[in-house]
Amino acid sequence: MSAQADSWDRAALSVGLLLFAPRYLAGAVIRMRASPDRNTVLDSLANLSTRRLHPAISDEQLFGGLDLSETLKHGQLIENNGFFNNPCAIMLTMAERCGPELAAKLAHQLDRHAGHCFLALDEGAEPDEAAPPALTERLPFHIAPEGKAPAGWAPVPAGTAPVPPREVACTQGDLEALTMLAARFGIDSLRAPLLALRVARAHAGMAGRNKLHAEDLEAAACLVFPQRATRMPAQEDAEEDAPAPPETETGTDAGMQNTSDLPDGDMLVDAVKALLPADLLAGLVPAGTLRSSQGDGAGQKRKGNRRGRPLPSRPGRLDGRSRIDLVATLRAAAPWQPMRRAAQPSAGGLLIRPSDIRLKRYQEQSDRLLIFAVDASGSAAVSRLNEAKGAVELLLAQAYAARDHVALVSFRGTEGEILLPPTRSLVQTKRRLASLPGGGGTPLATGLQQAAALATQSRGKGLTPTIVVLTDGRANIALDGSADRTHAAADAARMARVICAQGIQTLTIDVSKRPQPALKALAEQLGGPYLALPRADARTLTGAVSAALEA
């Protein structure tokens, strides 16, 4: 319970600070589902008199643009006032639905310090569903209290004699403490310590101090860093003995006085550590890997207004990017004609209002491409090349039924080869497969490289690639063609990580006599399922593949 109460305390402090210096702090992310509790928080922010902005807002509303009705009425260009033209508090509702384009525009606006205060309401339910990082990065606070609001919750009020945050002095030591702390939590962006500094200043200003105290730094670190942390700090870091930066004239004397009451670095670390989410380590992904490696089985769906299968049209504005659905528009306007005619007897033709306009929407389904990377080396040939061939053939039949594209990559000796570029021709694939010769070393890395290159290429053409690797896993030829077993394994692992990083869906099928632990590790690096088939016929293999693909 105390953790929950604590999270509400922090929310109270964040909101209090935000109310104290909205322009200076520039805003917050409020990650809560719509609930009475969220209303409590939002009500407390009501003083900011926010304007609401939704993720699908048009540029004209944002930046200001031609006001068509007024322009036509007065016969001269009249522009409406955009959100950005005068400083105000802006509330972005459904921030988790905000696309990167809008985020970029808002971020630009935040960078200009034009005096806006952004409140991003993030209603994301899943961990992956969150406001775009370009935006959250620039907002100091992350208000996400847990549990129910305690009775009588209210933002922390400002002191009786507040000091403007800009006038709060800070020392070299304060700067170092915040920067160091950010580095120890693995926060790369330099915006984090900057924002923390601002928060610390506002915190001191609110309490009526004109100098930063230990409690200000602690509060700032606790409010700004936990949501950005990417790692737990090591117990004792080598950073302690990093060379001290040159002190400035102003910094020296103030720094001397303050060293005594500067909080110990470890104390600050402990304070933030206590606030880190428990699943931080579980949620950590090594740099470069994308969460998206778990794709859907079939091709990805994309909504657009240009191509694909038509969806029901919906009301909207003509913004030059979408196409009008004429029939639907006329149908929407038709029932109103007599009424509108009565209101405007002099007007000729059809009377169409903006609310009648219907826009076309399409859903594009990209085709799936199955890339078979088949190990045709001597070791595989001895064991089960024919079985693998048979399995691929059966899979081909299924692929044909699903109108999937198929490509074939084989690797043996020292090189990988694209036997068949992406095609839908079943006959051709079968013929190539039948004549697939076996023998030679296992250049697994090269095979993966070829398959990945093909996958990337096909993705550019709008296909959704899936790589199916059939191998016995005994990689013994490295990327450069040398016969070095350890080197070859390292190369294969590296290539697997690259494929995983690109978010390509994979499936690894072990065709060796006994399941190979090394291959299982490889499958993990590829981020896809692993199937070991000690002894099975082609039909079991196919069943397993389809099951894995549909999962």
Binding site: A134, R166, T179, S189, L190, R191, G320
Partner: protein, 334 residues
């Protein structure tokens, strides 16, 4: 709007700063692409560049900043023909810009009020002889990218629409910035950028503290901070002006040209744009450093930014193309 953060106050990021200065020395290099993580000072540097650039001489009322009144396009209705000094235009191309805004379109106000057909110049006209800056260039919509490709190549903007037939010069330095995690850039557009640099957060704590300190000083004591670094900026500006005068006179030994060609062949870069940019950028660098002769050291210095984005894309290379270029440079230049 507030004065941007001064260019000389940016800590570290020397590759990015050098690339930007070189395009100011020789606009023919053809632009800079800055790719990097969030919070590394990309946008700050570009916005600072605007304040750093030396002013240009242009006809006062000309929409395309022509240097002489004879050069003004015939469709422009000129008021004052006086040649004045004005800051080098740095035009922001916002992500959501419509085609009309970018290339120019029928002037709606005039069409409605006076029933006249007149051309309202767009961002490309305003960027002539200056810079066109696209933040988050990798998120730019495809049809705008297509337009830019064409204009950046020909240096001329041709508008044929709504009964208008207009052309005007549009020679600008393209500056793009973006975060590669959010999207890739098409190789065609990539090739149009002369130099590309990758920026990273400084790993050194002292350097990080310095960044925070300067930024904080900039925000709290604006006037004093600008006074401190304004002089530095002026120095850089003067060096750029000097280098501009010198760049045409740089002596280029034939074996250096051969080195350029060898480098590009070894790297297998497409087309000849690589060699040309490499040579131009190296010359600009020599001029900026106050040298008279081009040497291998200049080539070595500039090769990663001039060539790394022109390699056949190898998505499987984890090391990054900059390292690949350095390796080849070591091989070829010894």
């Amino acid at each position: 709007m507030k004065t941007p953060f001064p260019f000389s106050a940016i800590v570290g990021q020397s590759a990015m700063k050098q690339a930007m200065i070189l395009t100011a020395v020789d606009p023919g290099i053809g632009g800079v692409l800055v790719f990097g993580d969030r919070g590394t000072g990309k946008s700050t540097a570009v916005r600072a560049l605007a304040a750093l650039l030396p002013p240009i001489r242009a006809v006062e009322s000309c929409p395309v900043n022509s240097p002489r009144s004879a050069d003004c396009p015939e469709w422009a209705e000129l008021g004052s023909k006086k040649v004045v000094s004005r800051p080098t235009p740095v035009i922001d191309l916002p992500l959501g810009a419509t085609e009309d805004r970018v290339v120019g379109a029928l002037d709606i106000e005039r069409a409605l009020t006076r029933g006249e057909k007149a051309f309202e110049p767009g961002l490309l006209a305003r960027a002539n002889r200056g810079y066109l800056y696209i933040d988050e260039v990798n998120l730019l919509e495809d049809h705008i990218v297509d337009l830019l490709l064409d204009v950046a190549q020909s240096g001329e903007n041709v508008v044929e629409r709504e009964g208008l037939s207009i052309r005007h010069p549009a020679r600008f330095v393209l500056v793009g910035s973006g975060n590669p995690e959010e999207g890739e850039l098409r190789p065609q557009l990539l090739d149009r950028f002369g130099l590309s640099v990758e920026v990273r957060s400084p790993a050194d704590v002292a350097e990080r503290v310095e960044v925070i300190k300067r930024r904080d000083a900039f925000e709290t004591d604006h006037a004093a901070f600008m006074a401190e670094y304004g002089a530095e900026d002026t120095k850089i500006r003067e060096a750029i002006l000097k280098a501009r005068r010198r760049v045409a006179k740089i002596i280029t030994p034939p074996d250096i040209i051969e080195d350029c060609a060898k480098l590009c062949i070894a790297l297998g870069s497409d087309g000849l744009r690589g060699e040309l940019t490499l040579l131009r950028a190296a010359r600009a660098l020599a001029a900026y450093q106050g040298k008279r002769k081009l040497t291998r050291a200049h080539l070595r210095d500039i090769a990663p930014s001039a060539l790394s984005h022109r390699l056949r894309r190898d998505p499987l290379d984890e090391a990054g193309s900059g390292t690949r270029v350095m390796r080849v440079v070591e091989d070829v230049l010894g």
